[in-house]
């Protein structure tokens, strides 16, 4: 509740900040301070101190899983602010409004990661999505951004429609919005139909395979800073909501959907990885890579064990940090294609080294957080009884190495004049810190996962 109220209020404050503060820098500093306050408030709640005592009538439950993920999302957002807030201001004139939209998204993340009622799930997902539609189209003079925004909006509202219909059917079958259904012996058809609709719409929100068509275009068209945020924090939040929904609401009818989720995961892995191989633009490659990483995260929903829960949190952190880091560099590049990175290591050896850490983490090479999170997922999958799916996932991870290493190859082994602008020392140190966290989590994952228990 702390994080929810803090981030909502911060959004309102940011909304007014542009006409109270007429200085871009002070607006930015204010945003950082507010986010830091939100993080601290959330840590307090994680330690059992809640500032607000609100009777939610069982509609929200702030358990450790939800709180920890909120913390991860907030910290990733803070990293995003540190690295990219200057670029956020370059999108257009409403810089304070962009921050306020981001805070509203954070509020949505809290709601959608702690819901106990389908109504709250819907609200949370909507609060996540609507500011994103707007941020996608915030570069108003760029036709591609407009197109991406419209596409995202139309597809997104369609999937929201599916979700609402699913919720309505489930309500019809069970007579309640609260999660945690109990089924006698025969599962009613209405419930199954509702569950399927929810599965589809949630798959859309996290861009899992048959519903991934919007992803490349939207991620490519949106301003790169925004892409960086929506491909990481928001997507992870979608997975947390997905997992919570299927663990709590449909946990008791698991045999009905297990196979389907497995298939979705496999297809997502396949399509994401194979298509990413053929991309020429790094931004588009990252879009497809986000689809393939989504496939890995789907494995957590497939297995639904404690390992999967830990793994999903770790995955969210590892994937978000690495992708935010890569995007922060990408925003500053002149050319977004692979050729644009040719000879990058000669000019910026430090940045190139950090990028390598991030890419290795995404590819899942040992000693990075990405490896361990993939490991958790595979372990959970094998425990969940599907060796074949785990083997397939490993194969696909091997494919992913190709396109991540392609970027390393063009940075180190090709000559060219990669141009980057606006890299300050602070920026470099922040990136280095992110890389440090990535390696640290790769060696001591307990630093993060222990929070789930103590």
């Amino acid at each position: 509740m702390n994080a929810l109220i803090f981030s909502a209020v911060s959004g309102v404050i940011m909304m007014f900040s542009s006409f109270l503060l007429n200085n871009k820098n002070s607006v930015r500093v204010l945003a950082h301070v507010l986010l830091l306050a939100t993080i601290i408030a959330n840590i307090f709640e994680l330690r059992g101190i809640s500032f607000f005592h609100i009777d939610t009538r069982g509609m929200l439950e702030f358990d450790r899983f939800a709180l920890l993920f909120t913390l991860v999302a907030n910290v990733c957002t803070f990293a995003f602010f540190l690295l990219s807030s200057r670029d956020l201001e370059k999108i257009g004139n409403h810089y304070s409004d962009y921050f306020s939209l981001l805070f509203f998204i954070l509020a949505g993340i809290v709601v959608s990661s702690s819901f106990k009622s389908l109504l709250m799930l819907f609200l949370g997902i909507e609060i996540l999505s609507i500011p994103l539609y707007i941020l996608t189209g915030s570069d108003k003079r760029n036709l591609k951004s407009n197109e991406a925004s419209l596409k995202y909006f139309l597809m997104g509202s369609f999937s929201t429609g599916l979700m609402l219909m699913g919720i309505a059917l489930i309500y019809g079958a069970t007579g309640t919005f609260q999660t945690g259904i109990t089924v006698a012996e025969k599962v009613p058809v209405l419930l199954i139909t509702g569950m399927m609709l929810l599965l589809f719409s949630m798959s859309f929100k996290v861009s899992a395979a048959p519903f991934h068509f919007w992803t490349p275009d939207v991620y490519d068209g949106a301003p790169t800073v925004v892409t960086s945020f929506m491909a990481t924090v928001v997507k992870a939040a979608g997975f947390i909501a997905f997992m919570r929904l299927f663990a709590e609401e449909f946990g008791s009818i698991r045999p009905e959907w297990k196979l389907l989720v497995g298939i979705v995961a496999a297809v997502t892995l396949f399509i994401g990885n194979i298509t990413a191989v053929f991309q020429q633009s790094v931004k588009r490659m990252l879009a497809y890579s986000s689809i393939s990483q989504a496939g890995f995260m789907m494995l957590a929903i497939y297995s639904l064990s404690n390992d999967a829960k830990e793994g999903l949190i770790l995955y969210a952190a590892a994937y978000s940090l690495a992708t935010i880091g890569i995007f922060a560099v990408l925003v500053r590049m002149k050319d977004y294609t692979f050729e644009g990175f040719n000879g990058f290591a000669k000019q910026q050896p430090f940045l190139a080294g950090i990028l390598v850490v991030f890419l290795l983490s995404l590819a899942g090479i040992p000693l990075t957080a990405g490896f361990l999170s993939k490991f958790y997922m595979l372990k959970a999958t094998i425990d969940g009884g599907s060796l074949a799916l785990a083997i397939f996932a490993v194969l696909m991870a091997a494919v992913s190495v190709y396109y991540y290493f392609r970027l390393i190859q063009s940075m180190y082994f090709k000559t060219g004049n990669a141009t980057i602008s606006g890299t300050t020392t602070g920026f470099k140190y922040t990136l280095a810190a992110l890389a440090g966290i990535t390696i640290l989590l790769g060696i001591f994952p307990n630093l993060l996962t222990n929070w789930l228990y103590f």
């Binding site: 939209l101 709250m120 609200l123 609060i127 915030s138 108003k140 760029n142 209405l190 199954i192």
Partner: protein, 185 residues
């Protein structure tokens, strides 16, 4: 058959017919108008369920505000039959099959539900007093949280709708060029 039942059948048939016409109509203006008819029939159903407040709110929000804006936009764009893109035959077939499957599943799902789930006329949850009590007692948290949703939508409307101050010509030209390049790709 009492008057309530007669009204129910009339409303139900009109609702289904007009909903179909929304989809079938070639002219978007007709689609919107049929949609308004659909909303009216749904409001009629609400009134049959003694939920007058919901009925009226349905009319205010959908027929009165949203559909008017729809009409506005569609009429200003002056969409004609010629501008409608031609879809391939297979796509249409696939759509029909998928929609048919959904229909089949929904019919199967609804067939097994308990009958008499609705309370005609006697139910009073739709009256404004009860609704207000439920909304502000049991559902006050979602109600408050939805304010975040609306606030963000409002901020978004300002962000998207507000006129940008003129930017220098060079940057504008550069942006135009970038856009053209993007389109060429």
């Amino acid at each position: 058959m009492g008057i309530t039942q007669i009204l129910f059948w009339i409303l139900a048939i009109t609702a289904i017919f007009s909903a179909l016409m929304v989809v079938i109509s070639k002219n978007p203006v007709y689609s919107v108008l049929w949609l308004i008819v659909t909303f009216f029939t749904i409001s009629g159903h609400y009134i049959l369920l003694n939920a007058q407040f919901l009925a009226v709110v349905n009319i205010i929000v959908y027929a009165g505000a949203i559909m008017v804006l729809f009409l506005f936009v569609i009429m200003l764009m002056n969409l004609n039959k010629e501008t409608e893109p031609q879809k391939s035959k297979w796509l249409k077939l696939a759509g029909a099959v998928a929609g048919g499957c959904l229909l089949l599943v929904l019919v199967a799902g609804l067939r097994h539900t308990e009958k008499q789930m609705t309370e005609m006329v006697t139910g009073d949850i739709g009256l404004i007093q009860n609704l207000g009590k439920v909304l502000f007692k049991d559902y006050v948290v979602p109600f408050e949280i939805s304010s975040i949703l609306f606030l963000s939508a409002m901020v978004g409307a300002v962000v998207l709708g507000k006129k940008e101050p003129r930017i220098p010509v060079e940057t504008e030209m550069r942006k135009v060029e970038e856009t053209q390049q993007a389109i060429n790709i």
